[in-house]
């Protein structure tokens, strides 16, 4: 087609494009008015948002705050097995309790559940962490009712009545439990196969004690039940030879919740007071008299449980 196209008339479009232009300009102006004030200062965001994020309500406090009012409990707690468990792990958030200066309460755990949340045996838990199957544990320590709360024996702030601060306890090479590698149940009847990788067992080093112990009444109790071991690294940990009488009493205190198969139990301190002949006897601990039931010990004083290795 060679015909030259005739020109068009665009006058009727002026209003339209003017309107369009006006709308765009107004939109741009409105947009710049609506941009939040602190936007773009540090980056493509509202700087005020950082300050707003800092204004959230605090619900948890920190451990040293609890000490201001509860220093007796905190003192006990800091020396025992739960030293690294913060107060609010079990008691829940404490900010309101602190702000009300104790007028408003804090959560007080009840029953077995709060303890079993950590201490029930679950396969995925690291083997070195103290865990129990509740029925087995109750059977072993001779408690009749499986619903007896843990706190009947264990004070949650002093669960093991450790006789010394863990940080001052003796270092010891790593003690393995079967569960450390085998995330299944510990089966005491299993014989150790010959090709099993070598692991340290107590009797390798402590030959005589182990041989002697095997003939004593406590022979079904594992060494690490009383010689509490806390793993610190991949090769070592701290061992405690807990001589605090209250520790022995965890199994041996007489109570109405004991079962018929319970270990021999006594009243305390009645038992010691009855047996005491001198003033000094009133300071004695279980191990001072009951070495026959355990194994030969070298004790320096009644209050400090053993030092130096035995052979």
């Amino acid at each position: 087609m060679t015909k030259v196209p005739e020109p068009g008339s665009y006058r009727h479009t002026i209003r339209l494009f003017l309107l369009l232009g006006a709308v765009l300009v107004i939109a741009l102006v409105v947009r710049s008015l609506l941009v939040p004030d602190s936007f773009g200062v540090l980056g493509h965001f509202r700087l005020d948002a950082i300050e707003e994020a800092r204004q959230s309500v605090l619900r948890h406090m920190e451990q040293d705050v609890c000490q201001d009012c509860h220093d007796d409990v905190v003192g006990l707690h800091a020396k025992d097995a739960h030293a690294k468990v913060s107060c609010e792990t079990c008691h829940g958030p404490g900010a309101f309790h602190v702000a009300a200066e104790g007028e408003e309460g804090i959560h007080l755990p009840e029953g077995q559940r709060p303890c079993l949340v950590c201490h029930e045996l679950i396969l995925s838990r690291p083997g070195d962490f103290p865990q129990i199957i509740p029925e087995d544990h109750y059977r072993f320590v001779g408690v009749r009712e499986f619903t007896t709360p843990c706190t009947a024996c264990h004070d949650p702030h002093e669960p093991l009545f450790m006789d010394r601060d863990l940080r001052t306890a003796r270092l010891h090479p790593l003690i393995h439990r079967c569960r450390d590698c085998h995330a299944g149940r510990f089966d005491e009847t299993l014989a150790r196969p010959e090709e099993h990788p070598p692991i340290f067992q107590c009797e390798y080093c402590h030959v005589q004690i182990a041989a002697d112990f095997a003939q004593r009444p406590h022979r079904q109790v594992r060494c690490t039940t009383c010689h509490l071991f806390f793993r610190e690294s991949d090769s070592s940990g701290r061992i405690l030879r807990d001589a605090d009488p209250r520790f022995c009493l965890l199994c041996h205190r007489d109570a109405d919740f004991r079962s018929d198969e319970a270990p021999p139990s006594i009243e305390w301190p009645d038992h010691r007071d009855d047996m005491a002949e001198t003033e000094g006897d009133l300071q004695k601990q279980c191990i001072d008299c009951h070495q026959d039931h355990i194994h030969p010990l070298k004790v320096k004083t009644a209050a400090v449980a053993g030092s130096g290795s035995e052979e």
Binding site: P5, E6, P7, G8, S9, Y10, R11, H12, T13, R15, L16, L19, L20, R31, L34, V35, P36, F39, H44
Partner: protein, 382 residues
């Protein structure tokens, strides 16, 4: 194989987000048809040129609706234009949509100016409405009409890349997410564009044949056959790209294939393998292929084409569903799946989706009452 991260149990992008790319897809496809006529001189499409432009406009009006319903804070929706973060594909939505809406509105203004003028000469509310749209300038002569045509042609050409961008950015939005193995592919942009065109042409064919039949109008046969041929061509490209993407991940079998293969074989087997491909791709391919390769009688051809168009409408919807929802069914832990099916009456449920999808057709009918959309059956100037 049944683990999902705990925050993945609820699916965040619901059927609303399936509907949004579907509607913008209809827009893009309808606009392409209109531009085929206005820009590329495909004069056999004259019968639907105006109708496709109006369809594009009406669907475009409804496109933001599913998004606004989905937003947690819809009253802040304009934040994407006030403080857009341009590293985000989603930030493009506000500007692309607005610009494209302006282009489509302008093109309608110029293409249908004569019809508006004719309608404006009269009394009544609609006439006043038309006068307002014309900005109260009812003058026209041959020169202005030539100008109108030139500008319309320019806008139609300008609108093609914008339509592709409007729909393609959604594809990029999904395809650029490295965290989601089902979505992450460079092909996503192109797949979305081509399947959008398929859905757009399909809705035009579907609607045109249905409306013509219901009103007893004479169907412009060359137009329908031409659209059917375009549909067949675009459909081949779209499905080929989708299959290419599938073949690529199925062949490479990188780490995510273990869970994606399970997604395809189990969770999405019915909606993806059976429905999207075997039923709603293969059958229209055959129907349209026969029509494109052979010349059948008009009536038979129209029935086959209409069925194929309807099936392709469903195919594209299924494709959107399988992409959007399918991608969220897979856990980012690569270890399991969650599940999702929209409720009927909830805020982002099926009832609302149905309303959003059918309302545009009602608005088109209103549009037709104001300005005739089918020049073949009613007087027109174009």
């Amino acid at each position: 194989m049944d683990f999902v991260f705990p925050n993945e149990l609820n699916v965040t992008w619901t059927v609303m987000i399936v509907l949004y790319p579907y509607i913008t897809g209809l827009v893009a496809g309808a606009f392409i048809v209109s531009s085929l006529y206005h820009v590329f001189g495909r004069y056999e499409l004259k019968a639907v040129a105006r109708f496709s432009l109006a369809s594009a406009f009406v669907f475009l009006l409804f496109a933001p609706l599913p998004l606004v319903i989905h937003l947690g804070q819809p009253q802040r929706a304009f934040n994407i234009m006030i403080t857009p973060n341009f590293t985000s594909a989603m930030a493009g939505f506000g500007f692309i949509y607005t610009a494209y809406l302006i282009v489509v509105v302008l093109e309608i203004w110029f293409v249908m100016r004569s019809s508006f003028i004719e309608r404006a000469k009269g009394t009544g509310l609609i006439s006043f409405f038309c006068r307002a749209i014309l900005l109260f300038n009812l003058y026209e002569d041959e020169a202005t009409q030539r100008a109108d045509q030139k500008i319309a042609k320019f806008l139609a050409g300008l609108g093609i890349p914008m339509a592709c961008l409007l729909h393609g950015y959604v594809g990029f939005l999904f395809g650029s997410l490295k965290a989601n193995p089902w979505w992450s592919t460079p092909l996503m942009f192109v797949i979305f564009v081509f399947s959008a065109i398929v859905s757009g042409i399909s809705v035009l064919i579907f609607h045109y044949l249905l409306v013509s039949r219901l009103n007893g109008w004479k169907i412009d046969q060359p137009c329908v056959r031409s659209m059917a041929r375009y549909l067949w061509g675009f459909m081949i490209v779209a499905v080929s790209l989708e299959l290419l993407e599938l073949m690529s991940i199925a062949y490479k079998q990188t780490e995510e294939w273990e869970v994606l293969g399970m997604l395809i074989r189990e969770k999405l087997f019915v909606s993806y393998v059976v429905l999207q491909y075997l039923v709603f791709s293969l059958v229209p391919f055959i129907l349209l292929g026969i029509n494109s390769l052979f010349t059948l009688r008009d009536r038979l051809a129209n029935v086959m084409i209409w069925i194929a168009a309807m099936m392709l409408l469903v195919q594209v919807l299924l494709m959107r569903w399988n992409v959007v929802v399918g991608g969220q069914l897979v856990s980012k832990s690569m270890r399991g799946f969650t599940s999702y099916f929209p409720g009927v009456w909830e805020k982002e449920g099926l009832a609302v989706a149905l309303v959003i999808f059918t309302l545009p057709f009602g608005i088109l009918w209103l549009f037709h009452k104001i300005v005739p959309l089918f020049p073949d059956v009613e007087k027109y100037q174009d």
